[in-house]
Amino acid sequence: MPDETPKPADTISLTIDGVTVSVPKGTTVLQAAEKAGLDVPRYCYHPGLTIAGNCRICLVDVEKMPKLATSCTTLAAEGMVVRTGGEKVEDGRRAVMEFLLANHPLDCPICDQAGECRLQEYSFQHGSGGQRFVEERIKGFKQKPVGTHIVLDTERCIVCTRCIRFCDEVTGTGELGVFQRGAFSYIDTFPGRGLDNPYSGNTVDICPVGALTLKEFRFKKRVWWIKDVPSVCGSCARGCSVNLGTADNTIYRLTPRENPRVNKWWMCDEGRLSIHAPAPGARLGHAMARDNGEQAVIDHPVALERLAARLKAARPGGVGIIASASLTLEDLWMVRRLAAECLKDARVVVPEVRRGEDDAILIRADKTANRKGAEMLGLPLDTGDASLAALLEDARAGSIEVLLVLGHPIDGPVKSPGGAPFVCAALTHAGGLADAADLVIPTAAYGEFEGTWVNFAGHAQRVRRGLVPTGIALDVWLLIAELMRSMGVPVRFASSADVLSEIASKCEAFRPLAIYGGPVKALGAQGVTL
């Protein structure tokens, strides 16, 4: 029975490779083909940028049009019949590929783009497989730094202008332009100036070839060894969806993952390069205790026992907990439970970390990953550092006996000259507070823990583990669960997903995650706005 539901007035139907597809008016043939599941080759087209139509690889055969048409510039029309394959189209693509490769250097063996290069892919699929261009090649700039993080190779460049359009349209900074003309066209910056906007790294992502490369990633790893783990950036409250590019139990690079509701296709340089930021000290893998003035490694169960004992012995109101606003929902939920079920009048502070201003694109001044999540869980948020300062002062004065610091490395002295309070630092790296603490418990670092973060706008996303944690470093929620068991409360979760399920059932704000199939399924790849 043919479908007789009336179509909305502004949709049209067209046939692509025999498949009929309905699209809204204003859709291009290339986008319509994507909707039909067909991947038309493209270099200069990018959904986040204006249409350029200059690479000419997306040529398709439209019935009744005498010449091949670029599908990225051709609007889909009612009743159009399109072929994305066939001899005429393949001839056209072969010609374009030949032109692109004519002056192109044979850099594949040393080019970072190898393995994720569209020239390689489309040559393989549509190229002629030979080289008829025997003329002398035009020389360009190789390895030219054009910014703090970006290296330019104009010989590899196919002048698709994606990078220029990005700097013009997304960041509005316009650092790049095409210089000269004809076969001598090349991309560059104004003499003496660089490509130094806070989002410069995105030009490397969108460059379809190896013309723009990231200095911090150059020659580090061939991409076919890298396993991409979908996760979330933790450098600010935006929570851009990212891929952890992992190999050798290391994150070699962060790249943005498309998410229409959070970061579209982009991420900022600070987030991208956070994996290269220098650590305050060595990575912690074992618990340590300070006996007789020196820190020494102790067994993990021993550490937990000591901490439990100190907490039990503290008088009501004598325990302070500093919980980082970058802990996951699961971590923070357990903090709430610990304070409610095992402690009396514990003072919990979630410190604020702000730097600079929110910008109009992605960057948030709030440099924590889950402050909104902490708020939604009902934890007390610090504004400025009022509560944190008060807590630390009380700790030094002696009215706080035990200070439990979870994931928030504090600058400056915490202990009074007399030695109060007892400080337990659950951190990822040595240095600073960890060196001064009485008890150190290692926690899972970025990429090692699994959990949920909620960004400033209430969008919750799943943060995924891509690395095996160092030593006995634990997710904070798991650490607290073990601690609570040591203190006599029978807590058992098989995974962080179970913790999230409990949150969804007990905390009103997270009710939308309580679906059949579980909250992780609810979050999916791109998260849920709560």
Partner: protein
């Protein structure tokens, strides 16, 4: 195949000289002539070149600010058009047409004669800063070939003697 190495690259001669208030004023006038100010970019570059002899980077930055575009945009426009210089040039720039009709009427020999007479190759400037020699494409004077343009003027129906006389008169 003989020929110079094929290499990209515009060389912008550095500069720290600001445009004069008069030049900036002329640019403002140019902006006022158009419905949209971005159209004044080419006129502004002509004004800068007239004053400083070439489109210097500092002037480009000032123009970028007035027009409301980025400096890189201005530089990319400068490098697209052959009449804007990115380096200082001789007092007189000799542009010899070498396209088909002029070639048919002896432009190759004319270029050779000029190279020999001036003692420089195409693209170079005489040591005394008097002449820069360039070859250009069709100047729209095919009926009076061979010919060249020096500054504002066309010099047509050239013979080697005629061009010698023209150069003699240019200090």
């Amino acid at each position: 195949m003989s020929g110079p190495l094929l290499r990209v690259g515009v060389r912008f001669a550095p500069s720290a000289r600001d445009l004069s208030p008069e030049a900036l004023g002329k640019i403002d006038e140019a902006i006022a002539r158009y419905p949209e100010k971005r159209s004044a970019l080419l006129p502004a570059l002509w004004i800068a070149q007239q004053e400083q002899g070439y489109c210097a980077p500092r002037a480009q930055e000032q123009i970028a600010q007035k027009i409301g575009v980025s400096p890189a945009f201005v530089a990319s426009v400068v490098s697209f058009y052959t009449m804007y210089h990115t380096q200082p040039v001789g007092r007189h720039v000799i542009d010899v047409c070498t396209t088909v009709s002029c070639w048919l009427r002896g432009s190759d020999a004319l270029v050779g004669h000029l190279e020999k007479t001036l003692g420089i190759r195409v693209g170079e400037t005489t040591a005394d800063g008097r002449f820069t020699l360039r070859t250009v494409e069709c100047l729209g004077s095919c009926g009076t070939a061979p010919m060249c343009q020096i500054g504002d003027d066309y010099h047509e129906d050239l013979t080697h003697d005629r061009i010698d006389a023209v150069l003699e008169g240019l200090r």
